[in-house]
């Protein structure tokens, strides 16, 4: 029994130490603001992390919007209120699905790539050689990628919502014959900017922070072997997904729960 408690305590302490290390990594990498060259490196990462994730976001958003339109129409038409499908699609996307699904896709597309990239840089001694040239790899490699993730995901979430709402429109209005005016009109009336859009974006920002942090820490601290990089990449996707879903519940409860 005592041994069990001791083992549990040891595990807990190890986890806490790891989290402390991850926090230190983040603080150290963000200690110095990016200079002139830093902006150029940030721009490059915005392209890699953001622009290159666009295709997967656009396609997923379109299909999710279409499915929502279809399901919403079937469900609402049973009560004769299919004209409300626009507000249902928009609220579902803006409050929940866009931040969560976009973040999950982001973890799989960009997060895993970041972990593998940094892990390989470590394995090929590129991080060590930066250090020997007197350049801090946290500042040079980690910081621009973290900022890029923080900027890109909220933007991708916004795009996701737009495209998803249009996907719903294609199905509900163009295909199933909902009146276009009520699709937009009901949406305009039901979606509140502060309550829904801003809260959705806050979620996006939190997920961006968590996913980028996990991905970069896993890459930076991985065991520099092929197996180590593979483990780290898997962990990025698994931990990020769990963190996104966990934080989503907490944030939803804080934002929309209760009164």
């Amino acid at each position: 029994m005592i041994n069990l408690v001791a083992a549990l305590g040891e595990q807990l302490l190890q986890r806490l130490a790891l989290m402390g290390q991850a926090l230190l990594m983040l603080l150290q990498s963000l200690k110095v603001l990016p200079g002139k060259h830093g902006i150029a490196r940030l721009t490059q990462q915005l392209y890699v992390v953001g622009v290159q994730s666009l295709i997967i976001m656009l396609v997923s958003a379109l299909f999710i919007g279409m499915v929502l339109g279809l399901q919403g129409y079937t469900l609402l038409s049973a009560y004769g209120s299919e004209q409300a499908v626009g507000q249902m699609v928009a609220l579902t996307l803006v409050r929940e699905l866009s931040p969560v699904v976009a973040a999950l896709l982001f973890a799989g597309r960009a997060g895993s790539a970041l972990t593998a990239e940094i892990g390989l840089m470590k394995a090929t001694e590129q991080l060590a050689s930066l250090e020997m040239f007197g350049v801090d790899p946290l500042h040079r490699i980690v910081a621009p990628r973290f900022l890029a993730g923080l900027i890109c995901l909220p933007l991708l979430v916004a795009i996701f919502s737009l495209v998803g709402i249009y996907g719903g429109y294609i199905v509900a209005v163009d295909w199933l014959g909902v009146y276009s005016g009520s699709y937009w009109g009901n949406m305009q009336q039901a979606v509140d900017f502060g309550e829904d859009v801003v809260n959705g974006m806050i979620k996006a920002l939190v997920f961006a922070f968590v996913v980028s942090w996990i991905a970069l820490y896993q890459g930076y601290s991985c065991v520099p072997t092929s197996q180590g990089i593979s483990t780290a990449t898997t962990r990025t996707v698994v931990y990020s997904s769990l963190a996104i879903l966990g934080f989503d519940f907490i944030l939803t409860a804080l934002m929309f729960g209760g009164a």
Partner: protein
């Protein structure tokens, strides 16, 4: 203690987990010479280079570079010291997203205020010295292993350092590349009055160019002498390594219980173990 070498290591101990990599070692590396650090794999040769470069901190004892204890330097001072020191990593460690030219230009851009023309000329001269001026527009992924290491060498000497550390420069190279690297290391050392520290287990290649050899084993310095003296050393451990004997003081077998005991143990427990494994 009097400081006479450009790199001085005093009473250094270093552990990985509970295993001692180094136990209380003293090493002094003289300026202007090529010193080879040799020893069997896993004796911490690369670890020693990292300790010298300040990438690892010793658990006990101190490392002095240019007469300064590197543990007592702040980051800025350490970086300044590092700019007087070049490192050739085992894999070359070229930045894969930069061309050969940009790789060699990297330390110059970081540490000097050269204008574009001066930078261009300096990079071309360094590439010329390693015979790869013509490859300046290539990406590292298009280079052979030997070429990558030569580019890395050009990059390591771009700032004209006073010390250069080589991590296994010969491993995995074909005989021609090996001879080229050997010549480059020797020539650079003589022309630029560098201090070269070379970690290797290629005895013939390293001994051919080294002025001094430090032989590591079992966490301590087994010998520190000229290559000729080591070749004829009576010490059994030194002799085993220098002449490449498979078994000797450094055992062939990884520590294990006696073979007879393991083979003759009852079959039931073997079946148990295998079942457990599967």
């Amino acid at each position: 203690m009097a400081v006479n070498g450009i790199i001085e290591i005093h009473n250094l101990s270093f552990f990985r987990g509970k295993r001692a990599i180094f136990k209380d070692i003293d090493v002094s590396i003289a300026a202007g010479k090529i010193t080879a650090i040799m020893g069997p794999s896993g004796t911490g040769k690369t670890t020693l280079l990292r300790l010298i470069g300040g990438q690892l901190q010793p658990h006990q004892g101190e490392v002095q570079l240019f007469g300064k204890n590197i543990a007592q330097l702040n980051r800025r001072q350490l970086n300044q010291l590092r700019s007087r020191m070049g490192v050739l990593f085992q894999s070359g460690a070229l930045f894969t997203d930069l061309t050969v030219f940009e790789n060699v230009a990297f330390p110059l851009r970081e540490h000097t205020q050269l204008n574009d023309q001066q930078l261009h000329d300096r990079v071309l001269l360094k590439l010329e010295a390693v015979g790869l001026r013509g490859a300046r527009e290539l990406m590292p992924s298009h280079l052979s292993g030997g070429m990558a290491r030569r580019v890395a060498l050009a990059r390591a000497v771009a700032l004209e350092p006073e010390i250069i550390l080589y991590d296994e420069p010969f491993s995995g190279q074909d005989p021609i590349a090996m001879a080229v690297l050997q010549r480059l290391i020797k020539d650079l050392n003589d022309e630029m009055q560098l201090t070269s520290v070379l970690v290797s287990h290629d005895i013939a290649e390293a001994c051919a160019i080294a002025d001094r050899v430090i032989l590591l084993g079992e966490g301590r310095v087994l010998a520190h002498d000229t290559p000729e003296a080591l070749q004829t050393s009576p010490d059994p451990a030194v002799r085993q390594f220098m002449h490449g004997e498979a078994d000797g003081v450094i055992p062939f077998h990884f520590p294990a219980p006696p073979l007879a005991a393991e083979l003759l143990c009852d079959n039931a427990s073997v079946a148990d173990k295998q079942g457990g494994l599967l």
